[in-house]
Amino acid sequence: MSTVDQFASVFNAASQTAFQHQPPALENALVVTDLEPDAAEKYAGSVRTFFGAVTGKWETVHGGEFATVKELLNLVESRKPGLIVTYRHLHSEAWRWPYSLGEHLDVLIQESTPPVAILPHPDREGVPERALKNTDSVMVINSHLVGEDALVNHAAVLTAIGGTLHLTHVEDDAVFERYLDVISKIPEIDTDVARETIQEQLLREPSAYIDSCETALREAGVDLRVVKHVTHGHRLEKYRNAIKDHQVDLVVLQGHDEDQLAMNATAYSVAVELRTTPLLIV
């Protein structure tokens, strides 16, 4: 080793991102529905046990209280909730078609500061029997997990005592193969070495981060089991299979993306597709 770049690589690899345990205070929650007042209260009652971590008061918004997106945002602003609980396609029939979240939710997620829980639509059929019963199995999904302390902290708070927290990181094979294809055309770079070392390094960092999550949560006395899922493949397929295999009760996702106005791509695709699994968008 004789260049600045070589040593900088060594030190960059040694510079780990450690998880900081800072549990969020979910003091009050606001259930937003487009139902009649009685049905709205009934619906709100059915989801309270699911979010046992909320310690303060619960409020409910029924369908008559808002129609436009602006009215909904004003309502949320005035109630200042610590958590918003709602479902897709408010005041719309489009929930029958699994291609979007609906205009209210699209804007609400991007505009609101508190996390938004997206539950299956009340009229939706085919929701598993176990859904909304407990949070024994919570999974964090993000395109890059390293450094996303807020996601892990929210997921840890919402995981039932003695439950399992699944922390996932999937490196997308399509992107990786695209770069490998380019590398295979550059004579100065050994393709086999590149494949092995890049793959190893890509997986090493999230793995170390998840280890630090486990250590920090254990040291903080949080009673849960951390399960590491660090792999590569087709992202959505891997997530879908993992959620199914581990009977996940709640998926925690990162909604905001600093680089764009639209919702984080991974979160959006998961939120659109997984319509029977409760989600929390942080």
């Binding site: 600045v4 070589q6 690899a13 040694a14 450690a18």
Partner: protein, 519 residues
């Protein structure tokens, strides 16, 4: 520019082959013409030496190529004029004269130390130590300055200055990015500190090896004299850098806690791939350092020269790490090795052609001007020229000149009185002068190169404003230290008999004797 300049990044300059050919033909033709017409040989060879060193200072041609060309012309002309013989039979083997002129001890130390340093580097030991030291700082800017500076001094004492700068410089960039600090003051300070660390031991820098072995100074004696100065210079320079760059320690607890958590996130063991190799490397490094320190007391080895320790260390490391022998051997700085072969041959011819005696005559007046003014003239002038050009040929030429005086110590009362101070004046001057300009030392070139890559452009004059203050302070300190150390007996006078004998060896063969402790 100081040692290992070719290792510095962004220094790849291609010469024009036609221009070089014309220059070689013209210089050879001119020298041959002058010699043929009866011009004194010392003046003709003096012109050749001046042209070679002048071109070296201009850095237009690779320094190994340049010195090999100079040596080649000098050897051809000297053989033609009968100044030297082409070679002679030695124990039944033909030994070319230029082979005898080369200081193979220095070459052995360079090759051996490059190999073992490369292998120890691969074990992750230096990176591991660096991260450990970073954690000691807890991310506080002033403590970071102390830690990085200390690390630079220690590393440059055992590695070459460029390698030390590369290791600490790259950590500085990574750590400062994480701590959201400007890397500039730290990197410039490290550039300065490599030259202090380069003074610490006999093998810390090439000028030390050349001058130390020529002066017959042993490893331990060198450390005992240079060590206290390095500690003094470390502390003084630390506060000077703190003042120049306005580096302040963290005061509030929240900032301290945040900085500490950031440096604690570094995992030193991530730098180590194979712990067995790591521990073995640490043991071998320890043994090598002990070997250098105790060389003069180790039976058999004490008769063989310091290079044996370096080569033994390299061999042991190659046995431990057989994975990539070719790759490791390719890391040897062949430019530097060939540069030395050429330089020693060139200076060997210059010695035979009386050029060095002529330079000695010129220098005799200022150097013999008094027991204070002589050593001061040596230290300050060698520092000045080291700041402008390569300090290796400067050290080599002046070491030859001092060896010449030393061989006549019986006739030179002034040299007998304070010749020891002239040797140390040269060591301090050649070692410290590199901080004067941004091109004065290869490690500063590396530091400025790293800063440029990170988007900080330091102009020549911006650096000189800092470098000049640092050099002035360090040289003033070195001057006071030199005379103070002599007063308390740390630096002892030359033993006339031993000095004459070692000076004679150096002067006659163009090679240096190998040191045992003490003068």
């Amino acid at each position: 520019m100081s040692e290992a300049a070719e290792s510095a990044p962004a220094k790849k300059k291609l010469h024009n082959p036609l221009h070089v050919t014309i220059m070689v033909v013209l210089v050879t033709g001119l020298c041959a013409f002058l010699l043929h017409n009866g011009t004194e040989q010392k003046f003709v060879f003096g012109i050749l030496l001046a042209v070679t060193l002048g071109m070296l200072a201009l850095e237009k041609i690779n320094k190994a190529i340049l010195v090999l060309l100079g040596a080649g012309i000098a050897l051809l002309l000297a053989t033609w004029q009968g100044i030297i013989k082409g070679g002679e039979m030695h124990d039944g083997h033909y030994m070319p004269t230029y082979i005898q002129m080369v200081d193979w001890g220095t070459i052995g130390i360079i090759i051996g130390s490059t190999i073992f340093v490369e292998l120890i580097s691969r074990s992750g030991l230096f990176a591991w130590i660096s991260v450990k030291i970073l954690k000691v700082s807890k991310g506080d800017p002033f403590k970071l300055l102390i830690c990085f500076s200390g690390l630079t001094v220690v590393f440059s004492a055992f590695l070459n200055n460029v390698t030390a700068m590369i290791i600490v410089g790259s950590l500085t960039i990574v750590a400062c990015k994480k701590l959201k600090l400007s890397a500039m003051p730290f990197l410039l300070a490290e550039g300065i500190y490599t030259n202090i660390g380069g003074l610490l031991t006999l093998i810390s820098s090439i000028p030390n090896i050349i001058v130390g072995t020529a002066a017959n100074i042993g490893y331990t004696q060198f450390l005992l004299v240079a060590g206290p100065y390095c500690i003094l210079a470390f502390v003084v320079t630390l506060y000077l850098v703190r003042w120049l760059f306005k580096i302040k320690p963290l005061t509030d607890e929240a900032s301290k806690a945040e900085a500490k958590s950031m440096v604690d996130a570094f995992d030193e063991w991530e730098t180590v791939k194979d712990r067995k190799f790591f521990y073995l490397s640490a043991m071998v490094l320890g043994a090598i350092i002990l070997g250098f320190a105790l060389h003069s007391s180790i039976p058999v080895l004490k008769d063989m020269g310091l290079e044996v320790i370096a080569i033994l260390g390299a061999t042991v490391m190659l046995v431990i790490y057989p994975t990539d022998v070719e790759g490791v051997l390719n890391e040897v700085e062949w430019t530097l090795v060939l540069f030395f072969v050429g330089l020693f041959a060139l200076l060997g011819v210059m010695g035979k052609a009386d050029v060095l005696s002529m330079i000695g005559e010129w220098l005799k007046s200022p150097l013999s001007s008094g027991s204070y003014s002589g050593p001061m003239a040596m230290m300050w002038s060698s520092a000045f020229f080291s700041g402008l050009t390569d300090n290796i040929p400067l050290a080599a030429v002046l070491a030859k000149v001092l060896s010449g005086f030393q061989s006549q110590i019986g006739d030179l009362a002034w040299f007998a009185e304070y010749g020891h101070l002239l040797w140390w004046g040269l060591i301090f001057g050649a070692g410290l002068g590199g901080n004067f300009t941004p091109i004065g030392s290869a490690s500063t070139v590396v530091a400025i190169g790293i800063l440029k890559k990170e988007g900080h452009n330091i102009t020549f004059m911006q650096y000189v404003k800092i470098g000049a203050i640092v050099v002035l302070v360090q040289l003033t300190l070195a001057t006071a230290y030199l005379f103070g150390a002599e007063k308390i007996g740390l630096i002892q006078k030359l033993d006339p008999k031993a000095a004459a004998a070692s000076g004679q060896v150096t002067d006659d063969n163009g090679t240096h004797g190998h040191g045992s402790d003490g003068h």
